[in-house]
């Protein structure tokens, strides 16, 4: 804003900013496009005015009715703007901390007992409103009436004052004020950032020459914020060019902007040098250690930071044209899909859910990697395999459903099912008559001689075999030891002969 200009000059300047050449009103039209622009400018305040309406709706809520949420929102927005460009960036927690004294003061003014929990809730609610958490951070869609070719049309203006950006270090998301948010707060809604910057610096110079140091210190802080925003704006264009040259209009817009920015930066560096030298000169006339001297030092420091960020940006801009040429050479022949962007829900998920399972399976067999990104495959390692095999068996997973108590069958002797009780009696009677030691073949011959049934002989042979097992305590009537060959064949039995000790 230039205070030396007359209202007519100011109007002409505003027209330049507000109209595009083809927007100039036709004398026959009953709706001036300028009114639409005015309308859209006014609608930017809608997200903030909603806080007033919310306050009215909260009048009956105990403990919360005395809070002025618009004041809290403005404080939050200004704090975020002030912190822009400084490390670390503001996040929800730091903004909330900044709001607590304000909420505390509101509690005291309304004779309400201050409660940290309630203050926190209120602060969070205001932040949620600024970020439009209800709509997952999307811009507020504000309807308004427009006229196109004499016809009434309902249009929607997307407005976002504050947004969350990811932190490269993996910390909590950083709050950033959007251009609309910054302009709304810096009272320059109809001005471009570049012009707002020029206006602020003109103000600082005037304030300094008139000895209004406090105001000059405040304004120079504002100038630094605007310088940072200008840096970010231009860096964003260069970054977008590197990602996709087609996303930036390098035929008219970008060269014009770069040229303008170069001239602008050159002027700003000169202006900031002027301000710094004025401040230095003024400091010589004020008392050392006074409040004014401190304010002038702050101005000098801020001007130094502004110059530093501008010089950095100037270096980037000097490389910009080369960036464009190199990117053009690199990206020109790259294959680009001319597809319109798909809606993942309507164009991808719904057709898949509707499709037959076999088709979907076939789809995922080849395309699942597109949902997961790259993955370094594990290489087979013998060491890892061995250590895994030596690991104790993992505990079995618990049952997920209630399991009925298991019933166990009573232990039974399986032999009794094969041989009758009479066979057992015969075998036991035969064994009872034995004494001394004899070979198995002699033992079986004796059994045959006593006309034992084949089943009884078979049972006796089984008992001999079982006697080889030292842990089997069932047979304790004799011990068995091996003999060196010969082997024997007798009746239905054959094998190595053994010595039985009764």
């Amino acid at each position: 804003m230039d205070f030396d200009k007359t209202p007519e000059d100011f109007w002409e300047q505003q027209k330049e900013f507000l109209f595009f050449p083809d927007d100039l009103p036709s004398p026959k039209s009953f709706w001036d496009p300028f009114l639409t622009r005015q309308h859209r400018v006014l609608l930017h305040t809608e997200p903030l005015l909603r806080f007033k309406r919310r306050d009215a709706g909260r009048e009956n809520t105990e403990g919360y009715s005395h809070y002025d949420s618009l004041t809290i929102a403005l404080k939050a927005l200004n704090f975020v703007i002030e912190q822009t460009g400084f490390e670390p960036g503001p996040n929800r927690a730091t903004v909330l901390k900044e709001l607590l004294p304000l909420l505390e003061a509101m509690d005291r003014a309304a004779n309400v007992e201050p409660k940290c929990e309630r203050q926190k809730n209120m602060g969070e609610a205001v932040l949620a409103g600024l970020l439009n958490d209800e709509k997952k951070g999307r811009p507020y869609e504000i309807p308004y009436t427009d006229f196109r070719d004499g016809e009434v049309e309902v249009a929607y203006l997307p407005v976002r004052l504050l947004e969350e950006q990811l932190d490269p270090g993996g910390g909590p998301s950083i709050l950033v004020a959007t251009n609309e948010g910054v302009n709304l707060c810096l009272q320059g809604l109809t001005l471009d950032i570049e012009n707002a910057q020029a206006a602020t610096e003109a103000i600082i110079k005037t304030q300094l020459t008139h000895g209004r140091f406090y105001e000059a210190a405040k304004a120079s802080k504002l100038a630094h914020i605007q310088s940072n925003r200008l840096c970010l704006k231009l860096e964003h264009i260069l970054l977008t060019t590197r990602r996709n040259i087609r996303a930036v209009d390098w035929k008219t817009d970008a060269p014009h902007l770069i040229q303008f920015a170069l001239e602008h930066l050159e002027n700003r560096c000169k202006t900031e040098t002027d301000i710094a030298s004025t401040a230095r000169a003024q400091r010589e006339h004020v008392e050392a250690g006074s409040k004014e001297a401190a304010q002038l030092t702050t101005i000098l420091m801020l001007m130094g930071e502004c110059q530093h960020s501008h010089i950095k940006l100037q270096q980037r801009l000097l490389e910009a044209r080369q960036t464009f040429l190199d990117e053009q050479a690199r990206q020109f022949f790259q294959r680009r899909e001319t597809l319109s962007l798909p809606s993942l829900e309507a164009d991808v998920l719904t057709p898949l859910l509707k499709a037959p399972c076999s088709t979907v399976e076939q789809f995922f067999n080849t395309k699942i990697s597109a949902t997961l990104g790259p993955h370094a495959p594990k290489i087979f390692s013998l060491t890892n395999m061995l250590s895994r095999q030596f690991q104790p068996r993992p505990p079995s997973q618990q049952e997920t459903r209630p399991v009925a108590a298991r019933t166990f069958l009573p232990p039974v002797l399986v032999e009794r099912n094969r041989y009758t009780a009479e066979t057992y009696q015969q075998a036991n009677a035969f064994l009872a008559k034995q004494h001394g030691s004899k070979t198995l073949s002699e033992f079986l011959q004796e059994g045959e001689a006593q006309a034992l049934a084949p089943e009884t002989l078979e049972l006796l042979v089984f008992w001999v075999l079982r006697s080889f097992d030292p842990s089997d305590k069932h047979i304790s009537l004799f011990t068995v030891s091996r003999l060196s060959p010969p082997s024997f064949t007798l009746g239905g039995f054959s094998g190595d002969d053994v010595l039985l000790q009764f």
């Binding site: 990811l166 490269p168 597809l339 993942l344 859910l353 699942i368 949902t371 993955h375 618990q398």
Partner: protein, 246 residues
């Protein structure tokens, strides 16, 4: 001719893309390579060439790191078996649907894909992803009921539709220990979000008792610059092919 040190540095930067949890802000060596990439065009070409040889496509390089996408035949492309080594055919089918539903929950509208990938999206929960899937399933079921006369081939196709498999799976059955059964859809979504977390695509957030997952820059770049279009093109191709059922 490139110097050997330059080639090695380019390969090292590509290698960083396979460490999804590493961040340049916390790793000076990684940060130095990113700075070299943004300042030298020759180095950038070298990085792209090295990535291409590994079957990878460089999506973006910024202060957040390097993000790459694997070609379908690349050794770095995950398969359904890598994701779930054992499981039924239904499990594999549901896994795929869930992974796409996660993307659709973060980006429900086409214009969302145009957003700046550094803007933080709201954290999502397993319940929200399940809700995305179940609401589409309900909608498809209602639409099927309203179409009484359809050809026999379509009836068969409808009987085997994927949404029926999802609908039939319980949402949140809990076991004796009070935890969700691993075959319930909520547990399967939780698993998918945890796998994506290990891939550097989500950061866990806990608000009270609710466990939510915040999409990272890597996930946003992956979906916006590659996955959404890749999946859409594949679906267009596969749905125009004659199916076995048809």
């Amino acid at each position: 001719m490139y110097e050997l040190a330059e080639v090695r540095a380019a390969i090292r930067l590509v290698e960083w893309s396979l460490h999804p949890l590493a961040r340049p802000a916390n790793t000076p060596a990684y940060r130095e390579l990113i700075a070299r990439y943004t300042s030298s065009f020759a180095f950038r070409d070298l990085v792209h060439a090295a990535a291409e040889e590994w079957g990878l496509q460089v999506l973006d390089v910024s202060s957040f790191g390097i993000a790459v996408a694997p070609a379908e035949t690349s050794v770095f492309a995950m398969t359904a078996n890598d994701y779930r080594p054992s499981g039924t055919a239904d499990d594999h089918l549901l896994d795929g649907l869930i992974l796409i539903a996660i993307q659709a929950t973060v980006y429900p509208l086409a214009q969302d894909l145009l957003e700046d990938p550094t803007v933080a999206h709201h954290a999502i929960t397993a319940e929200e992803v399940d809700q995305t899937l179940r609401s589409i399933c309900d909608h498809l079921e209602q639409r099927a009921q309203k179409e009484p006369d359809i050809p026999l081939a379509s009836v068969e196709q409808r009987l085997h539709a994927a949404y029926l498999v999802y609908k039939a799976r319980p949402q949140n059955r809990t076991g004796k220990n009070g935890k969700p059964v691993s075959s319930s859809t909520i547990a399967m979504i939780e698993r998918a979000l945890k796998v994506l977390q290990s891939q550097g695509c989500f950061l866990p957030k806990r608000q009270g008792k609710t466990q939510s997952y915040q999409p990272t820059w890597r996930f946003q770049i992956q979906v916006q610059d590659w996955s959404a279009t890749e999946l859409y093109l594949a679906i267009k191709t596969i749905l125009t092919q004659p199916t076995k059922e048809a």
